[in-house]
Symmetry: C2
DNA sequence: CGGAATCCTCTTCGATACTG
DNA sequence: CAGTATCGAAGAGGATTCCG
C-alpha cells in the first residue's frame, strides 16, 4: 500500500509525526522524546559521543532505518549534533547538545523508578556495561562527594567506563580513564546482585567475582559516594 | 488482546507487547510507562483519583478503547488501582498506587525539561487547568516553603485545583480547597504569559486578567514558594 | 454512565536487503 | 561503515455499537 497519495494533508510537510497537541510541558516533552527508542538513544549519548554502529550495537532490535530516523529527528529538534572525534580517531559521531544533555535528570529519575524492576536480571535480556552509568548517576550522593576529586575506572564484562567525581558532581564516560584512583573489574550478574542487596560486597570480593586494584581508600570513598544497594 | 505485564522474569512466548528486553533500569521503566499516553495518564492521576470520563476528557484523542487498554495494563502492572470515591459521590475511579505515585519525580523532571517548549501557547493545542499542576510541582522551592502550612486555590478557565503547602512539600489536587489562604482566578493564556515572563504579574492584575481574593500576604508568599517565571 | 467490542484506516515499527 | 529502500506486522485513532 505504499505510494499512497495523501488525500487532504499534502500541504503539511513532515507534519505527519504524531503529537499530543496539548499545551502542557509534559506532553510537549513527550512530543520530542516520547517515541520508542528515543530516550534509550539519549541514554547512550549521555556517556559520550557515539558512532552509528556503536548505537546500533547498544540498542539491539532497533533496526538501521529507525535509528537513522531517530537521529535525524533529534538533530532537527536540536538535541544532538553530528561531530567528528579528534585525531587520530576522526570518526563521525553523534553527541548531545546542551538541550539534549538537559534531559539527564529526567533519564536518571526514570531509571531510578525503573530500578525496582531491575532487581533480578532477566534471562534473554541484553546487558551492556554502559547501562550501569545511568544507575550510578542515580546512586550518586553529592553531599558525600564534597571535596573529592578523582576518577574511578570500571571494567564490566570486558567493557570499560569511568566516573569522574569533581566539585560535588559526577560524570560518566564510556572510555578508559587517564589515572584512575582504582580499577574495578567484575561482571554484570555480580554487579546487579550487589546493587540490589542480594549479595554482600565482601563476599563478591572474597570469591573473586569482583576485583579492585589501586587505592583501597578511594574505593571505600566511592562506596560512600555511590550508595549501594540502591534505595527506592 | 493485550499482553499482561509480568514483573517476574517470564519467557517471551505470546508476548504481544513490545519490550526492549534490556537489563537496564531505564529500559525496564520504559517497558512499563514508555508507551504512548501512559505518562500523560499518570499525570492526570497525580492530582487525585479520576473517573473514566474525566480521563477521556483530559486526554483528547486517546479513544475509549486505548484508554481502557492502558488502564488495564497499568492496573496489572500495579501502578493504579480501581477505587470508589467516599459517599456521597460513590463513583468508580482510578487512583495511583504507591508505585504509581513514585513516578512523580520523573514526570516533574520531564515536564521541567519540556517547559522550554511551552513558552508560547500553540494554536489548536488543548489546555486544561489541571496541567498547570505538574508545572507547579516543578516550580516548587522547598527551601522557601519551610514553616509554611497553607492552601492556595486556583480557578483557571472555570476549572479548580488547589495546592497544599506543608512540611516543606506541596501537593496538588484537582478539587476546591476547604479554607484557602487566597483564591486566584485567571485564564490559561494569561497564566502562560506570566509563567514565561512575557507579561508582568502586576499588569495582569491591573488589567483584571488575574484576580486574587483573600490574603495578599499569602499570595506574596506563594510567589516566593513557586518561582515564576520558570527557570530552565 | 462506564466501559467493552468491532471495524476500518492510517502510522509506526522491525527485520532484512541493498547501496554509496 | 553509514545509512536507504522495502515490506509485512503491530499499534494507534476514530467512529460506532452494544451492554449492564
Amino acid at each position: 500500500m505504499n505510494g499512497n497519495f495523501t488525500p487532504a494533508g499534502v500541504n503539511w510537510p513532515l507534519m505527519s509525526r504524531r503529537r499530543y497537541r496539548q499545551n502542557c510541558a509534559l506532553a510537549l516533552a513527550l512530543d520530542v522524546v516520547g517515541e520508542r527508542w528515543t530516550l534509550l538513544l539519549v541514554r547512550e549519548l549521555l556517556t559520550g559521543p557515539k558512532r552509528f554502529r556503536d548505537l546500533l550495537a547498544n540498542l539491539p532490535g532497533i533496526g538501521t532505518n529507525l535509528l537513522a530516523a531517530r537521529l535525524k529527528d533529534l538533530e532537527q529538534a536540536g538535541l544532538i549534533r553530528r561531530g567528528t572525534l579528534p585525531p587520530p580517531a576522526g570518526s563521525a559521531v553523534y553527541e548531545l547538545t546542551d538541550t539534549g544533555s538537559a534531559l539527564e535528570p529526567s533519564v536518571v529519575a526514570l531509571a531510578g523508578w525503573g530500578a525496582r524492576y531491575a532487581g533480578s536480571p532477566r534471562k534473554g535480556y541484553a546487558y551492556r556495561a554502559n547501562w550501569v552509568a545511568v544507575g550510578m548517576k542515580f546512586a550518586f550522593r553529592p553531599e558525600a562527594a564534597r571535596g573529592v576529586q578523582e576518577t574511578y575506572e570500571y571494567h564490566i564484562d570486558g567493557e570499560v567506563f569511568h566516573v569522574l567525581v569533581e566539585g560535588g558532581r559526577c560524570e560518566v564516560r564510556q572510555a578508559p580513564a587517564p589515572q584512575p584512583a582504582f580499577r574495578l573489574t567484575s561482571d554484570a550478574n555480580t554487579l546487579l546482585q550487589i546493587a540490589n542487596g542480594a549479595m554482600p560486597l565482601q563476599k563478591a570480593i572474597d570469591s573473586g567475582a569482583l576485583l579492585v586494584e589501586g587505592s583501597r581508600q578511594a574505593f571505600a570513598r566511592s562506596l560512600k559516594i555511590f550508595r549501594l544497594p540502591v534505595q527506592l
